[in-house]
């Protein structure tokens, strides 16, 4: 059942409406074992091999809470400036679905582990404070694959298969308070929030935060209110937003879609919508108006969580340097402008540059390659910078070769190209492609002689004092050496041979 979607151009939508955002992020924790049993959590195992009586909900089995997961959740809460509950409970969220073995999910309801925090993000040079409503701990469901049917969803499928490897993996849900006043920057704020959150989680070492593998998943809530109104509109929740870029696109798309409906006198249906990576569009999912009654009640199979305040204080004291603090320090160390720093951040390049610096490269050079040639390549290939098949070590090696005079920038670009093409490490590429600068004086001298002989006019001009004409000769040498000559040395030698003082 296809729905016809009309969009209002973004600028017009923003002239008429103000967006209110809300973000719910699910993070799979990287604990060694699942939330309530001893099964491993590693990604990519053959289906239904990481299962046991507990995570398959065999009759009689009982959950036992993973203390490491509770610790990770508290650390996330602390890093997000939340208050940590002194006493709270798990709750059962009851609903039937084949990928949820117990037909209830052990989650937290009105007693979350962490509440009332915030995360500051930078957008176009200004700081936006995103307030955090709650951070709670729950278990993931299994993964259903619906085979046959047009939509890939359970309705209309010929059959469905379920992999319970993911069932019971600890999942942290981070919910923002409604984010108002972002105005036309709403899509950027949403993206910046998820980017910042992802970095924060990575710095805590609690998750591998891979959006494409689903270890970081984001639901985006958007509502619009007419300019001048203070009453929020009906919101929709967009799921299946699997990349940072999609976060931005989904907010933009939803603003355009809702604005068109509202402008046409329609009303927004409170519903879940599914984002489609290929088209950037969303389609309607389950309507929340026939709302599920989850019949939450405190989980009687588990004892309450009562984190010792002294332990929480220790966890807080031992938090690593948070990304925003780190960025400020790095910026000072590298002496980078706000604009360049922001550019690096947006391109997700800071860690790559940092690692390249750690591998021995000067910060300026590291930044130049990642933000220049490599960013261009990533853009062409449509991949993230970090996903290019090149390591910070490789980049550091290239900067070293340039610094030693073995490569010039032009050759260095060819080396990078070779590394990206899978030809091996930088030195191997230099070797295979024969890219080393010609600094053998004899060979260079021979090339110069040849060039002077073939450009007698230019040589005469130089001899007669028109030193500017030396450029053409150097160019000839570079051409003859196929770019491998050291241009500076070639100039010196040419002037020397022509008896002119440079």
């Amino acid at each position: 059942m296809a729905e016809t979607v009309t969009l209002m151009p973004y600028d017009e939508a923003l002239e008429r409406f103000e967006p209110v955002l809300g973000l719910e992020t699910h993070v799979e924790l990287g604990t060694a074992s699942k939330m309530f049993c001893g099964c491993p959590t590693t990604f990519g195992a053959p289906p239904n091999t990481h299962v046991c009586p507990i995570c398959l909900a065999l009759p009689g089995s009982l959950p036992v809470a993973n203390v490491k997961a509770i610790e990770s959740t508290i650390r996330i809460g602390l890093a997000l400036n939340c208050s940590i509950a002194e006493w709270c409970r798990f709750a059962r969220k009851n609903y039937f679905y084949p990928d949820m073995p117990k037909n209830y999910q052990i989650s937290q309801y009105d007693e979350p582990l962490c509440t009332d925090g915030y995360l500051d993000v930078q957008v176009e040079g200004k700081t936006v404070r995103v307030e955090i409503e709650r951070v709670h701990l729950e278990e993931d469901t299994g993964k259903s694959t619906h085979v046959g049917g047009a939509t890939g969803r359970i309705q209309g499928a010929d059959y469905s298969i379920v992999d319970y490897n993911r069932a019971g993996i600890p999942l942290v849900e981070i919910v923002t308070k409604p984010v108002e006043g972002t105005d036309r920057l709403a899509p950027e704020v949403a993206k910046a929030y998820v980017t910042e959150l992802r970095e924060l989680l990575r710095s805590l070492g609690v998750s591998d935060v891979r959006m494409e593998e689903g270890s970081l998943r984001c639901d985006v809530n958007v509502s619009l209110m007419p300019r001048g109104s203070s009453t929020w509109g009906t919101r929709t929740e967009t799921k299946n937003v699997n990349s940072l870029r999609s976060v931005e696109r989904s907010v933009r798309g939803e603003i355009e879609r809702q604005a068109a409906i509202l402008a046409d006198g329609g009303r927004i249906i409170q519903e879940t919508r599914h984002f489609h990576e290929d088209t950037g569009a969303t389609t309607s999912g389950r309507s929340k108006e026939e709302a599920q009654d989850y019949r939450y009640f405190p989980e009687p199979d588990l004892v309450p969580i009562a984190p010792d305040p002294a332990w929480v204080a220790t966890l807080k004291a031992e938090l690593p340097e948070l990304p925003s603090v780190r960025r400020a320090r790095i910026q000072a160390e590298w002496g980078v402008s706000d604009l360049d720093m922001a550019a690096m951040h947006n391109a997700d390049a800071i860690e790559l540059v940092e690692a390249t610096v750690a591998a021995g490269a000067p910060a300026a050079d590291a930044r130049k390659w990642w933000m220049g040639e490599l960013a261009r390549r990533a853009n062409e290939a449509g991949t993230a910078l970090a996903d290019l098949p090149i390591t910070p070590g490789d980049v550091a090696k290239v900067t070293e070769l340039v610094a030693s005079g073995a490569l010039n920038d032009k050759l260095a670009r060819q080396v990078l190209e070779g590394v990206l093409a899978g030809e091996g490490a930088p030195e191997a590429v230099v070797e295979k492609r024969g890219l080393r600068i010609v600094n053998d004086e004899g060979e260079l001298s021979a090339i110069i002689d040849q060039v002077l002989a073939g450009n007698a006019d230019a040589a005469d001009k130089v001899r007669s004092g028109k030193i500017a004409a030396v450029g053409a000769l150097v160019g000839g040498v570079m051409k003859a050496s196929r770019g491998k000559a050291d241009a500076g040395r070639a100039r010196e030698l040419i002037l020397e041979k022509l008896g002119v003082e440079g």
Binding site: P59, G60, L62, F297
Partner: protein
């Protein structure tokens, strides 16, 4: 005296000293099962071959000089709600017919390790919901005192097996009285330990915050030995208490009430109670006084709300606990003919697989938890629960134990209350408060009612982790009555 009439403690001693082999003891019980269970229907599953194998292993270990526990070589029957990795486990339901767990419950595993021989699995009300075994999908069990009557429930197969000498010991679970009530109406001993005193791991859940595994035996000491063998903290059940097991065996051996303060619960007696039950209870009060106990009346005013609170909390938890029976991973599957959705198959399976009482409670619980009703029902019931615990606490400041009749009536005829759930629920009137507060309580025989000649039970309630007090008082009552009656109560039961 034949082997089947001996106590578990005595059988354990005979096997340990090699005066009798575990194989002989097991065979004697298997013969008894073959002889009488067609009349009693205590068992859903008997595995003679497996039982004899286990018995041979115990005999071999004893011959090698292995030091085993006091119950090694003693046969036992498990309520068919404990997972056993070598036998089917049905919870008395069609929805689990033929299901064989790939794992053992902690209770069954610990008892295997202690050398007990599993004869088989006993009948129960479906998912332990009931007071008569009439809700079993596999038909009712019968009371050995009168085969036309119920053996109590939900653990009625376990009480019937022990009362009919088919097993010296059995396990049960007590969620609202499901051990104490069957023990009372079959004239045996049944104990609900402190909640969390033993592990629920592998016990198919009815109501998680109430379910408590416990022992059945024909005497107090045997029950204590059994409880001790399976109790204690279990890392697989985080609600199991990480504290030493109360000294139940020592208390059962001590059996003395001199100087003890005993409270008669005012609210658990009187109107609606069978005269013969009250007569035996008052006789027991006199007996305790004559043994040197100080008996006083204690009022627990909130106990009157226990039954309605229980019938909100237990169904609420069960509505969620039983959601996992959805035909997807195990058990019955109905209607999966390739044309129906998963949701339809779930619904058809649950419609066909659950009996009427289970459905009634799932619906009750679903309603009580639903949005808009939660505070009025489940939330309110939890408050009542807190108040009941406070009543217990206050009472245990005044007295060491509380007593009451275990049940308002003796065993009723099969079919009598089948169509009247409220009448059925009243069977647990006296037992439910201890489930709500989690404290320990035992039922021991205290005679036969004059009007029907059927057994009457005395309930002894003790504080949380005060299980030993139940055994201490129970043993004293048992000793005095055995002397008075000239033998155990069961010797008055008809031969089958």
């Amino acid at each position: 005296m034949s082997l089947i009439h001996k106590t578990a403690a005595e059988l354990g001693r005979l096997v340990a000293s090699q005066e009798a082999s575990a194989v002989e003891v097991t065979q004697a019980h298997l013969d008894r099962i073959a002889e009488v269970d067609s009349k009693v229907s205590a068992f859903l599953h008997v595995d003679a071959q497996r039982a004899l194998e286990q018995a041979r292993t115990v005999d071999e270990r004893i011959a090698k000089g292995d030091k085993l526990g006091p119950l090694a070589g003693v046969p036992i029957a498990h309520k068919d709600i404990f997972a056993t990795d070598d036998m089917p486990t049905t919870a008395g339901s069609k929805i689990l017919e033929g299901w064989r767990p790939p794992y053992d419950a902690t209770v069954t595993r610990r008892l295997r390790e202690a050398g007990l021989i599993i004869l088989g699995k006993t009948n129960l009300d479906e998912f332990a919901m009931g007071s008569s075994t009439e809700n079993s999908a596999y038909g009712p069990s019968h009371n050995p005192w009168d085969l036309s009557r119920i053996p109590g429930g939900s653990s009625g197969g376990s009480s019937a097996a022990v009362a009919s000498f088919q097993a010296p010991l059995s396990t049960g679970t007590d969620t609202g009285g499901s051990i104490r009530q069957p023990a009372a109406v079959t004239g045996i001993v049944g104990m609900k330990p402190t909640y969390g005193g033993s592990s629920r791991y592998g016990l198919i859940a009815f109501a998680s915050s109430l379910d408590t595994p416990g022992p059945f035996a024909r005497n107090v000491l045997d029950a204590a030995l059994l409880q001790e063998a399976f109790s204690g903290h279990d890392e697989f059940d985080s609600t199991s208490i990480d504290a030493p097991v109360p000294p139940v065996v020592e208390a059962a051996r001590q059996g003395d009430v001199a100087g003890l303060r005993i409270g008669v619960v005012k609210e658990l007696g009187g109107e609606g109670f069978q005269p013969g039950v009250l007569a035996r209870f008052h006789e027991t009060v006199d007996l305790l006084e004559s043994l040197g106990a100080k008996v006083v009346e204690v009022s627990c005013p909130t106990f009157g709300y226990a039954l309605p609170a229980y019938y909100l909390i237990a169904p609420s938890e069960c509505s969620s606990n039983l959601a996992r029976f959805d035909a997807m991973r195990y058990g019955l599957r109905v209607g999966d003919d390739g044309t129906r959705s998963a949701e339809e198959v779930m619904a058809l399976t649950r419609a066909a697989g659950f009996g009427p009482e289970v459905k009634r409670r799932i619906m009750l619980g679903t309603y009580a938890l639903s949005s808009g009703y939660y505070d009025a029902y489940y939330g309110q019931a939890q408050k009542v629960r807190t108040l009941i615990s406070r009543d217990f606490e206050a009472a245990f400041h005044q007295v060491d134990v509380l007593i009451s009749p275990t049940t308002p009536t003796t065993a009723f005829p099969i079919g009598e209350r089948a169509d009247d759930p409220m009448a059925m629920y009243l069977a647990d009137l006296c037992t439910i408060p201890s489930n709500l507060s989690g404290n320990a309580a035992i039922s021991v025989p205290c005679g036969l009612a004059d009007e029907d000649g059927l057994p009457v039970g005395l309930q002894i309630m003790a504080p949380v982790l005060g299980d030993d007090r139940c055994y201490r008082v129970g043993a004293a009552v048992e000793k005095a009555f055995t002397d008075r009656w000239g033998g155990p109560l069961l010797s008055k039961a008809p031969t089958l």
